[in-house]
């Protein structure tokens, strides 16, 4: 059985995003792997290292340049990649994406499928669960721990208020991981060199054929009722203007204040 990681290419977190039409202006963005998915990849690698998976496979759906995120997974140590090639705009519908991923996963002899809890851009937070639902696999979201016990998977799920649910899943299973579940490794130079020889299978997806799950309509900046007073001027001037406001607003004195 194999450990499969589902990964998504997302716009670089530090880019300046501008809403445009039904999405953001994508004309001058950098892209990289979704942060949550790095933890999914690490979890897949750890399963193989612990002898619970024969092979690790990373799967992504995205445009041609999304092959970049598969390369970074291979450099981290994943054995091979599957790239489901589709227009970036088609990623708008999580159902379309999940169906394509489920088709791919069904041919991979997956024991455990790891997904990130959510993507930093669209934030739908359900592709892993949809894949589980479509394939009839077990599912647990918000995982902060993963252990094998007698052929079953024990998952720690983060609940609210710091509580943890311990659940046991039959295999095959999909687990959507929370950040912090592990410490994702960085690619070593050797890993990067080795990744060049690792195989990536490319599959062209047919465009969505009507129906489907969700359609984008608009994207906008939220209206903020009471927003912060932004202090103008140079950084020095802003810093100086801040101090009396903090004193008055918080109603406290600071350690260095004259008694």
């Amino acid at each position: 059985m194999n450990a499969v990681a589902l990964v998504k290419q997302v716009p670089d977190r530090n880019s300046a995003f501008r809403p445009a039409g039904d999405w953001i202006d994508e004309s001058s963005l950098g892209y990289g792997i979704n942060d949550y998915d790095r933890y999914a990849v690490e979890a897949a690698l750890a399963l193989k290292e612990a002898g619970h998976a024969a092979e690790t496979v990373a799967v992504t759906a995205g445009p041609a340049d999304a092959g970049q995120v598969l390369r970074s997974c291979l450099a981290m140590g994943v054995d091979r990649g599957v790239h489901l090639i589709t227009d970036r705009a088609h990623l708008a519908d999580p159902f379309f994406v999940a169906r394509a991923l489920a088709d791919a996963v069904s041919g991979l002899d997956a024991g455990v499928v790891l997904a990130g809890l959510l993507a930093e851009d669209s934030g739908h937070g359900q592709v892993g669960g949809l894949v589980a639902g479509l394939l009839g696999f077990s599912f647990a979201s918000a995982a902060t721990g993963l252990h094998f016990r007698e052929g079953r998977l024990e998952v720690h799920r983060e609940l609210e208020g710091g509580r943890i649910a311990v659940v046991e899943l039959r295999l095959p299973a999909v687990v959507a991981v929370q950040t912090g579940i592990n410490t994702p490794r960085y690619a070593s130079l050797r890993g990067i060199m080795a990744s060049r020889r690792k195989p990536v299978e490319r599959v062209e997806l047919s465009p969505p054929a009507g129906g489907g799950g969700l359609r984008r309509l608009t994207l906008s900046r939220p209206e903020r009722g009471a927003s912060a007073e932004i202090l103008p001027g140079s950084p020095e001037e802003a810093a100086a203007a801040l101090v009396p406001r903090m004193r008055a607003g918080a109603g406290i004195t600071f350690p260095g204040d004259a008694a």
């Binding site: 300046a16 953001i24 739908h124 639902g133 609210e160 903020r224 810093a239 918080a250 204040d257």
Partner: protein, 323 residues
């Protein structure tokens, strides 16, 4: 036109959860009145829910009953919701946007051949579908999406609507569980309560919180110095504690500590909803961020748009000079 909406109700020690009451209110508005709302409650045995019909103000309460549902699981709850959906004919299924909803909504949606609209704060009917207002880019933008077909599935943010007052259900139906214990692929082993945290952030008058935008642990000294100048303690966003720059006890937010100091200074923190719920009760909030669109400015009283690495030492100096 009257519509039928199904919500998942969840039990708490004292009755049903606050999130369930919010869903009831949300659903009632969407259905055009409480009569149009069905609530499903998965139970091991219907007798457990005896008192609940008096406090669950839905048009109908559907108790899906069977030993497989005695403890909640993703697939058990999803099966109960789908069963109740069919029995009620609901055109929309609402779940809480919380760990239960994240588990259950995609399983329900997949079976209905659709995706769920998640992190939703408003819903309206449009033709044979629904339009949802939701949060995207970790709270930076609001998005409208259309679910073009019915039945639709959505997870609703906490606080999107006030909670409905408890009241009696108009009718109750008991449905036998469609799944037996052997059918389930998951089992709840136990729920562990939160361990007591080491550092008491909650007692501090001043919290200076470090975010991922500081770039690395090597830049945290400027935050420590500002905290010292203000007589406060250092806290952090989850991105910072997950990366190991600071210990987990210092994390503020929905999965960390809730603080309500007199002064909260957010340094290079974007202001994701999960962070905001942990510091909203602060008396005065300062945000330092290079991105004028960062949601943290919507939760702050005063902000400086700029490079935190440059601004923070200047603020520290200004505080010291002002004493």
């Amino acid at each position: 036109m009257s519509r039928r909406v199904l919500i998942l109700a969840e039990r708490s020690e004292t009755g049903i959860t606050d999130a369930s009451y919010e869903l009831l209110e949300f659903a009632s508005r969407l259905a055009g009145g409480p009569e149009g709302v069905s609530a499903v409650l998965p139970v091991g045995d219907a007798s457990e829910a005896e008192g609940l019909r008096e406090v669950l103000p839905a048009g109908e309460l559907l108790l899906v009953e069977g030993p497989a549902l005695a403890a909640p699981t993703a697939d058990g709850t999803a099966a109960a919701v789908l069963h109740a959906r069919e029995a009620s004919g609901a055109e929309c299924v609402l779940l809480p946007h919380d760990p239960t909803g994240w588990d259950v909504a995609p399983l329900v949606a997949a079976r209905l051949g659709t995706a769920a609209a998640t992190a939703v704060s408003a819903l309206s009917w449009r033709g044979d579908g629904l339009v949802a207002r939701r949060s995207a880019f970790l709270g930076k933008f609001v998005q409208e999406v259309e679910a073009p077909g019915l039945p639709a599935v959505a997870t609703v943010e906490r606080g999107a609507f006030p909670a409905r007052e408890p009241g009696p259900a108009l009718s109750v139906r008991i449905l036998p569980s469609p799944v037996g214990p052997g059918d389930l692929r998951s089992r709840l082993v136990e729920v562990r309560e939160a361990g007591a945290g080491g550092v008491d952030l909650t007692a501090a008058d001043v919290v200076v919180a470090a975010g991922r935008g500081l770039g690395g642990p090597e830049n945290l000294d400027i935050v420590r110095e500002l905290a010292a100048a203000l007589g406060g303690v250092v806290g952090a966003s989850r991105a910072v504690t997950d990366a190991g720059w600071l210990p987990h006890e210092l994390q503020i937010g929905s999965s960390g500590a809730t603080v309500s100091p007199k002064l909260y200074v957010a340094c290079a923190i974007s202001g994701a909803i999960q962070h905001l719920v942990g510091m909203r009760g602060s008396r005065f909030v300062v945000a330092i961020n290079k991105d004028p669109d960062a949601p943290i400015f919507g939760a702050a009283d005063v902000g400086i748009v700029g490079d935190a690495l440059e601004v923070i030492p200047l603020v520290t100096k200004a505080v010291r000079d002002s004493g």
